[in-house]
């Protein structure tokens, strides 16, 4: 078989973190009963007109600057015309001719090394409503709560060659955007969505092959699998001497396969033209500078600051600043307890472990920094021992419990009453003559077994240092 190379470009849609929709004063809040967050504008009522949300432009500029794009200082909106019920006007207000950002790129890092993925353009547009399909009645239900939520679409150059590069690109993009506060970029909830444009060609070829576009990819896993599957499908076609058809395919997460979305009624001729209801946007140098000045701390800046201000190692700082969410928790918790190294340890070890075990993203973390701070204080004061602390942290992580109350209620406090502990230890020593004998005959390791028995009897609530000390005294 010939050797093939995969060529991938991404169209990433990101929902911006504005309070209101792009063209009206409706809330962008997630959820809500159908059509409760709607008005004449975002439902395409006759006579309604759009007015642009300034914050959308500022977020788009910020993302453009952070991805090394040049900002189009005279830009416009265009109408993209197509009939579909999730699109109330049957046209989407988007940008084709003069998108707000162009010609950027970001550096990614994979096992294969560093490379730059070019960004062709970033444009602003409105999101569509939601369709819920009702198999019983053979109909679909349309909810316009998401209609008009602001999006930016980030169109990459066809610079990626593997699923690994795609994931690295998406993770980098997500980190940049989260740091800017422009979006929470949750794939599952759809606030970040990636359409994959993929083609294959023989290694060494200079022309691109025919590409397909894959939609409905809701997780990194789906993206990876879809890329592998589509690569294999296209190679198989070529090997059989058949042609790849340029088409849009929809990924089915349950079936782990894609199918073509083809229809005669779907001519894909969008008849773009300048949106007459909106006026051009002129972005002055002053405005650009303002946006730049207001930009929150970027990751590289944070990394340096952490090393200096908190005196934590480079490795720790790298991991913690890896997501904006983690960094935010770190700073908030440290602000309360002023123990940066301890906070960083909890985040790097236990938090990361639990995220992995539960297949969660950092964005899904829901515990309050106050509770982590309290836990650290409890452990530091010796009120709980380290194994209890881990147990309590799991509760903090899962249910955001107040560690003080939880320890109190469950009676998890370390027993530091010398008399009570001595009594238990004396009994353990009396019950385990063999171990005592071993210890006395020089096998000092035997004390470990006795410590273990004591902790077991104390249901873990004893301070291990104290147990050791008393044991040695009792054993003479």
């Amino acid at each position: 078989m010939k050797q093939y190379e995969t060529v991938i470009g991404l169209e990433v849609h990101v929902e911006l973190a504005t309070k209101t929709k792009i063209f009206c004063g409706c809330s962008t809040e997630f959820g809500g009963a159908p059509n409760t967050h709607t008005c004449p504008v975002c439902t395409g009522m006759p006579g309604s007109l759009p007015v642009l949300n300034k914050q959308v432009v500022e977020y788009a500029i910020a993302v453009g600057l952070a991805t090394n794009c040049s900002i189009t200082q005279y830009c416009k909106f265009d109408r993209k015309n197509y009939f579909y019920p999730d699109n109330p006007q049957n046209y989407q207000i988007s940008q084709l001719y003069l998108p707000i950002c162009r010609n950027g790129g970001i550096e990614i890092e994979t096992a294969a090394g560093k490379k730059t993925v070019g960004i062709h353009e970033i444009h602003m547009e409105e999101d569509a409503g939601k369709l819920v399909h009702d198999d019983w009645t053979g109909s679909s239900m349309v909810d316009y709560n998401r209609s008009g939520v602001p999006l930016i679409e980030i169109v990459s150059e066809p610079d990626m060659r593997s699923a690994d590069e795609v994931i690295a690109y998406l993770e980098k993009l997500r980190m940049i955007i989260q740091y800017l506060g422009a979006s929470d970029c949750k794939l599952q909830e759809g606030s970040m969505r990636a359409d994959v444009n993929l083609s294959v060609r023989e290694v060494g070829a200079t022309e691109f092959g025919t590409r397909t576009e894959m939609k409905n990819l809701n997780s990194f896993k789906a993206i990876s699998h879809a890329i592998e599957g589509e690569r294999a499908r296209q190679i198989e076609l070529l090997e059989e001497g058949r042609q790849v058809i340029q088409e849009t395919r929809r990924w089915d997460d349950n079936k782990e396969s894609s199918y073509a979305m083809r229809s005669k009624e779907d001519a894909q001729d969008y008849r773009y033209f300048p949106e007459p209801d909106l006026v051009p946007i002129v972005i002055s140098d002053e405005w650009l500078k303002e946006v730049k000045d207001r930009q929150p701390e970027l990751r590289s800046e944070k990394l340096e600051r952490y090393k200096k201000e908190y005196d934590i190692p480079e490795y720790d700082a790298e991991i913690i600043t890896g997501t904006k969410k983690m960094a935010d928790i770190f700073e908030a918790t440290t602000a309360i307890c002023n123990k940066p190294k301890k906070v960083s340890n909890w985040l790097m070890v236990e938090t990361m472990r639990l995220l992995k075990e539960n297949e969660m993203e950092a964005e899904d973390i829901s515990f309050a920094p106050e509770n982590l701070a309290k836990l650290i204080e409890l452990a530091d004061a010796g009120e709980i021992n380290s194994s209890v602390a881990k147990e309590v942290f799991e509760e903090v992580f899962k249910n955001n419990v107040d560690p003080e109350k939880y320890v109190e209620e469950k009676g998890l406090k370390t027993v530091s009453d010398d008399g009570a502990l001595r009594e238990v230890i004396e009994k353990i020593v009396a019950d385990n003559p063999k171990s005592v004998e071993d210890y006395n005959s020089g096998k000092k390791k035997a004390i470990g077994f006795l410590v273990g028995q004591t902790m077991k009897a104390m249901q873990g609530k004893a301070d291990p240092g104290m147990v050791n000390k008393i044991l040695k005294e009792v054993l003479g």
Partner: protein
């Protein structure tokens, strides 16, 4: 008539515009569109080289709203004229 509009063109535009014409309307549309395009071709007499297309007449730019929620629950007004509603949503023939 310089512009001859084919059946395929009329059918294609019908798909774009979501209009279904009967045979008679289709013939009429072919004739009308051809004649209009002939008439519009008059614009080709004009030399517009180097002329910037003008979509907005006035140099009004940067009309924005602030990012402040001004609208409350609008579902009643939104659904008031709907041909078919179920559970506060518009009902349409199944899309997939």
């Amino acid at each position: 008539m310089a512009n001859v509009i084919s059946d395929e063109t009329i059918e294609y535009v019908g798909i774009l515009a979501k209009l279904e014409l009967n045979k008679e309307e289709q013939e009429r549309a072919k004739k009308d569109m051809g004649e209009m395009l002939d008439y519009i071709d008059k614009l080709n007499e004009l030399d517009t080289t180097g002329v910037e297309p003008m979509s907005h007449v006035f140099p009004v730019n940067n009309v924005f709203r602030e990012d402040v929620v001004t609208n409350g629950d609008g579902h009643e007004a939104t659904l008031a004229n709907a041909p078919e509603v179920k559970e506060n949503a518009f009902l349409v023939p199944k899309t997939v």
